[in-house]
Every structure is written in C-alpha cells, then in structure tokens.
Symmetry: C2
Subunit: 286 residues, 2 copies
C-alpha cells in the first residue's frame, strides 16, 4: 500500500553540519563533512499564487476516510484563540481516562511554591523518588531547568516571570492530561499567576504545596548563594529581598517547621503521598 523509508540505523548527531545523500540502496543517509545541500529526492512543494485554482481533484483518500473514521467530524471545532486563527481542536480516541487506567493512577499537578532555598527542589526530588519506588509515574518540571529549554527566551522581568509560570502551568496541564503525576517546582511568588495555573486544571487535580519556611531560614541556607548576591545588589528583583512573595490563601498542603525543626525530605514527600492516597490519585481509575 505504501513505502517506508528505511531509517538510518545509526544516525550521527544532526549538529555536525551534515547533508543527506543516497546510499547504494537508494536510501537517504546523512554523511559527515558534506555541508553543501544535496538535491532532494522529494521535490519541495512550492507555494502557488493565491489566485490559481486547482482543477485536479484526485480524491484518493476522501475527507470522510481521512477524518470520519478516526477523528470524527464532531471532534473538529474551528476557533480563534489568542493570536491563533483558524485552528481546530482534535480529540483523539485515547483520552486521559484510558491513560490513567493504563498507569493505575490519576494525573494531576503538584505545584510546589515557596522562597528560594525553601526546599522546593528537595521536596520535588524526594517525592518523585518515593512515588517511583511505589511504581507510580511522576515527572518533575523544575522552574530553573525549564529556563534551560522551553523558557530560555524569558528573563526575570515581571511580564517574563508571569509568562514563565503560564507556560509551566500549560505544560503541567499536558502532563496531567497524559495521566502523569506532574511535580512543578518553582518560586511562583504571585498568587494571581498560581491561581491562573490552577484554573487551567480540572477541579481538584491542582494540588498546591506551600513551603512555608521563614525567609531567615532560607537565607541562612542560601544553597545557591543567591541571597548573598541579592543582598549585595548584584541580583535585582529577588523574591523575598526586593520583590514580594505572596503565600497561598488556601493551598492543599503546607510544609512548615514544627517545634523549630524543618521536616526531612522523605517526611515531606510522605505527607504529599498521603494526600494523594487519601484523594484517590494512587489507585486504579475506573
């Protein structure tokens, strides 16, 4: 019915200045050292002038066959969202519920907020480890790590911080939709930004964890040396120093010192797991 291009079994990394050629079997392969573009077997599909009408209508694969059987026409809704026009929402036959059944868990977002040095990453890692050891699939979205990739174009200006959080919220939503226990760990100092992320998620699947550790404790820890830099005026707009942190009004979980002692990582993780357990996130989904 159709052909399948045989893959390059051992593909050299594409950043080496590669260009494709055909191997003796007529298959495309990359090679090292040939930087000039080789002619492409598959001719580019050129833009045609907008006024030109296509008279050839070879209906090899009708719209019905293309969409009716798998997508279903009912699943196509044209809309304009933000700056995107003429976009359609596609619903796939395998949904969140099916993935949750496969994983025997319920997708959600654990949103860990708090000052720098309050233990957010420690909590995220400990939680990820404890969940994994029990056979659950969790994934950590770390604010700093995402700034190495998805959010590398964003600075720490107010509007960029908001956009940073919005994007993490949107990605966390995708992970939860995939059925995963998504652990987002970022300072997220403003209530409105966190609440906007909460609003993205279906009811009760956004679980906010506030690391309520006093500024003095965080600053004394200063694991990254950032408070020292902020105090010296070398970092501007640093949360807790010259930019405010707004604690949650009604988060699901608060981690705080008791009798002057901060809880150890495993105990923090166990408290979140206990919440997940009590609220049906760690059981087979029916």
């Amino acid at each position: 019915m159709f052909s399948l291009a045989v893959p390059t079994a051992l593909r050299p990394p594409p950043m080496l200045g590669l260009s494709p050629h055909l191997d003796p079997a007529g298959r495309f392969r990359r090679s090292i050292g040939l930087v000039a573009a080789r002619p492409c077997l598959l001719p580019p599909i050129l833009a045609v002038s907008p006024g030109k009408e296509t008279t050839e209508t070879v209906d090899l694969h009708s719209a019905e066959a293309s969409n009716g059987s798998v997508l279903g026409k009912k699943n196509l809704v044209m809309s304009t969202v933000g700056n995107s026009t003429n976009i359609l929402w596609h619903e796939c036959p395998v949904g969140k519920l099916e993935r949750q059944k496969l994983l025997k868990q319920k997708g959600c977002v654990i949103w860990i907020t708090g000052l720098s040095g309050s233990g957010k990453s420690t909590m995220a890692c400990a939680l990820s480890r404890e969940l994994h050891s029990r056979g659950y699939l969790a994934y950590v979205l770390d604010g700093d790590n995402l700034r190495h990739g998805l959010n590398r174009d964003l600075s720490f200006k107010a509007e960029d911080r908001a956009e940073n959080i919005r994007r993490v919220g949107e990605v966390a939503k995708l992970f939860a939709d995939a059925g995963i226990i998504c652990i987002a760990s970022l300072i997220s100092p403003y209530r409105r930004d966190r609440d906007a992320c909460r609003a993205l998620l279906p009811d009760s699947t956004f679980i906010e964890v506030f690391m309520n550790i006093p500024l003095e404790v965080c600053e004394a820890r200063d694991p990254k040396g950032l408070y020292k830099l902020a105090r010296a005026g070398k970092i501007k707009g640093f949360t807790g120093i010259d930019d405010p942190y707004e604690p949650p009004w009604d988060c699901e979980i608060v981690i705080e010192p008791k009798d002057g002692e901060c809880p150890p990582p495993v105990a923090m993780a166990e408290q979140v797991i206990s919440y997940l357990n009590n609220n049906g996130f760690l059981q087979e989904q029916l």
Copy 2:
C-alpha cells in the same frame, strides 16, 4: 514534625470569582459570591530593602541537609541561558532510564510533518490508539491543540511559527524524557525548524514521519475548508498555497500513496509501530 493543611475536599472551580474564608473547622475554603480579598492567615513575605542585612541566621535545615542528601551538590551548576541568568540545573535521582524501566518502553518523539489535510492528525490518533491497545503510554501533541493553550500567544507570522515549533519541540523533549512515546503532529513546513527540534533530542529518539501526500490530494480532501479559504485569499501564508513546504531530506519514515492509494490509518500506524519495534522502543529497557 510539621503540619498539613487539610484540603478543600470539593473545591469549586476557581474561575467563578471566588475568595477564601475559613470554614467552621478553621480550614480555608473558597466560596462563591465573595469577590473581595479576605485577610490572609499566612502573612505575606514582604520585600526588604536591598541594603538591609539579615543578622538572624537560624540554620534549622542546613544547606547540606537541604541539598546534600537529595540533590547532591555536584548536581548544581550555575549558568546563564538565553535571557535567564543565575539559574541552576537540578538533577533528580529518578531519571529517564528509571521511568523507561517502569513503563517498559523507550521515550521518544514521533514527529509527524506534512501539508494540511495530509492526514497527520489521523495518523497521530491511530498510532496513539494502536500503541495504547498494546499497553504502551503515548501522548499526542497536536499543533492546533497547543495553540489553544501553551502557544495561544502566537500568531501565524513567520517568527511566531518558528517559536510555535520550538516550543512543541521543547515540550516533546520533556515528554520523551518522561519515558513517553510523544507523537507531535504539526505542519512544521521548514526543514530548519524541524532539524532544530531533532537536535534537542538524544540521538535516534527523534523519529520524523513525512506524510508525503500530494498537494492536490490534500486540497481535494480539504477537511477543514482551509484550502478554500486560502485560495480565496482569506487566509494568508497558507502552507502549499502561498507559503512553501520543505520535505525532509532524510526522515525515518515516509508515508505516501502506492498505486494511487493512500494507506488507511491503521496501516500507517502499524508501519510506525514496526519501526519502533525494530529499533527497541517497545521493549523492556535494561
């Protein structure tokens, strides 16, 4: 050791103009109709003037305890990436390999590219369904769907299209890192944008699928009526009409008509599954 705020068991959706209050048990709850902010039990952590030095250094939870045991100091590397300064990469003890072992599959990105109407979404859904029925965890990132959320701020201008693809690539990378078979389905007309996404992924985990369906066939299908609008000049910069599509030079899989027939969805999916199977993506990871 620490306290746990009891969660609101049935939380109303937060978009209704809610504000929190304490319920009779002293727990925070949202209520409908109270829009004015109520006082917060947890006092805001105010910004202090940059010049003010903290003399109180209550080291309840030392940097060693906070980072040494779980993160490990070796895992903290300060860097500047793009517009982000003073960011640290945190490595969690549960990595891609551990998640892959749990899932008994290898995380990767199946990148489906092709003209509008070439069957990308059909392929993505069929593949997702076939993988799921075999017990594998896959997740579809649909270009149009993401424009309803993560990429809602982007238009169809050239630079926004590139940013759209960059973000999908970065998110797909996260999903692959989570151990998931991530199916990205978007026109992605320019080779350089697709290659930039390929470069994000570890070698051989970016699997490009080119829907090589002739423009005439796609236009005859016109499942969304977009070609008609583009021909009428109501959509500008439409791929294949007044904007070019650059076919891949050496993609892993090409789907194309054979003997004038386009393959049905399940057959397309089976070909990708066969590739995944032959390349060790669908087996227990050691």
